[in-house]
Amino acid sequence: MVHLVCRDVTRRYGKRDALSGISFDVRAGTVVGLAGPNGSGKTTLFRLLSGLGQPSSGTITIDGGSPELTRIGDSGTGVFLGVDNLHPGRTVRETLRLVAFLSGQSRSRADDRLEWSGLSAVGSRLVKTLSLGMKVRLGLALATLRPTAILLLDEPMNGLDAEAITWVKSVMRQFAESGGIVVVSSHLLNELEAVADRVLILSRGMLVHDVSCGSAVEHTRTLLRVDDDARLADALSETGWAHRYSAGSWAIDGPLEAVGLCAFRAGIAVLELRDDRGESLEKTFAAVASGEYRPPLRGGAK
């Protein structure tokens, strides 16, 4: 099963850190959203994930392999970085066949993707004559031309109508349900929340929030304050839940009821217990954008 791991990834441009200490991991069957204000580092992170750039420090590994395996040519990663990288003077069919040729895929595979994307009727048209929605479809057809385990999609829903957004979301969900990983960025927070299992929020090059969406139990997070942090640390170490401590609060990747029960059984007085999913993505994002956000997950595991 594919597994994407980012560890302390930093990207510097001169003296400026475009990304700073980004760490997260994604398991198979997951759609992960990336959100953040303009300039927060989303595109830089996509560039690194897609192999177009290298981290200044830190590692990105796929399937537990070496950092060299992050090269997309070696790892079979499908990438969509917008529609600007489509040559405007080439026909739709030739665009697909050309990349298929380079990828070692057959011409029939290219034609199959053409049909899958719903672009058969415009196969002989030049790319520059396509609508934005058609270009996105072509971009996704190119991203899925080779058998891939990871799909990286940078702003695939921008400027699309409702029908096209629905199609893009269905592509992402189907890809994840077939055992792949999708990492998608978008400014459309409602759409992101609807399709993603998790959303990572970036601000000024840092990962400031990792929020679970939908009902995925494994991504449920509980915030907890207790009167005896040392005993709670011991109790949590026996549960296997990922947990972090910062500024007097614990962030625990476990369901609220079970976390409360764990503290109760350890004889620890609970000062605050709440479900982290309570905060809407939009509200969190607004706080991040305004600079008022206080991240609950900063700091290392205690």
Binding site: S50, N85, L86, L98, V99, F101, L142
Partner: protein
């Protein structure tokens, strides 16, 4: 690597604008070859001279096409589609050079064949005696003209990574700079002229000027362009 070269070669011919450009190049070359036929009216028709005349436009065409081949993907960001599949930029650089050389030599070959065919047709219709003298010398002349031109254009394109800038520089060097150097007293300008290297390849004359010319217009910009290829952010 052969697949990457074939991919780059295919890209030279798979858009309408590139096909039109190639056709214009071939028509221009054949047209010049036809002019060569006119000046040979009467006497023996030397088809080699017709071919040599047809190749002359490639002194300009070869570097211009190579400059565009080196730079256009970066301008349109289409380079990302290549990088998504082949992440080794040094291989992309080498494949593009090979494709440019093969592509331009191929077009010049087509132009020569068409020019010679036109010469044959004219010669037969005029019932004029024909010869194909110095065939291999003519072939070497084509190589000496096209290969350095391609390398020069590609190097400039790789440095600029912008087709308009690269083409402007190539045209300025070929049409203005080299001519200006020709009037430098004592012939000192030949050490800096881009044409000195192809001239040496064609005739063997002035090897020192060929070395400085190749260094100045191929090796140094080629090395800088290679580094640009390795480091340029494809945003």
């Amino acid at each position: 690597m052969s697949r990457l070269i074939a991919y780059e070669l295919r890209k030279l011919f798979d858009t309408r604008s590139s096909i039109v450009t190639m056709l214009v190049c071939i028509v221009a070359a054949v047209g010049l070859g036809a002019l060569g036929l006119l000046v040979q009216e009467g006497g023996v028709l030397d088809l080699s001279q017709t071919a040599a005349a047809a190749v002359l436009p490639f002194a300009i065409i070869a570097p211009v096409l190579s400059a565009i081949a080196a730079a256009s993907d970066w301008r349109t960001q289409a380079i990302q589609q290549t990088l998504f599949v082949e992440s080794r930029r040094d291989r992309i650089f080498r494949a593009k050079i090979a494709a440019s050389l093969i592509g331009v030599l191929g077009i010049s070959g087509v132009a020569i064949v068409l020019a010679v065919a036109a010469g044959l047709t004219v010669g037969l219709s005029r019932e004029q005696p024909m010869v194909l003298g110095g065939f291999w010398a003519m072939v070497w002349g084509v190589v000496a003209l096209v290969v350095p031109g391609c390398l020069f254009g590609f190097a400039i394109g790789a440095v600029a990574l912008s087709p308009p800038v690269a083409v402007a520089v190539v045209l300025f060097v070929e049409l203005v700079f080299d001519l200006a150097l020709a009037v430098v007293p004592d012939g000192g300008g030949r050490y800096f002229a881009s044409a000195s290297f192809p001239n040496w390849m064609a005739s063997g004359a002035d090897p020192l000027a060929a070395v400085t010319s190749a260094a100045l217009w191929i090796v140094v910009p080629g090395a800088v362009g290679f580094l640009r290829y390795l480091r340029k952010e494809s945003s």
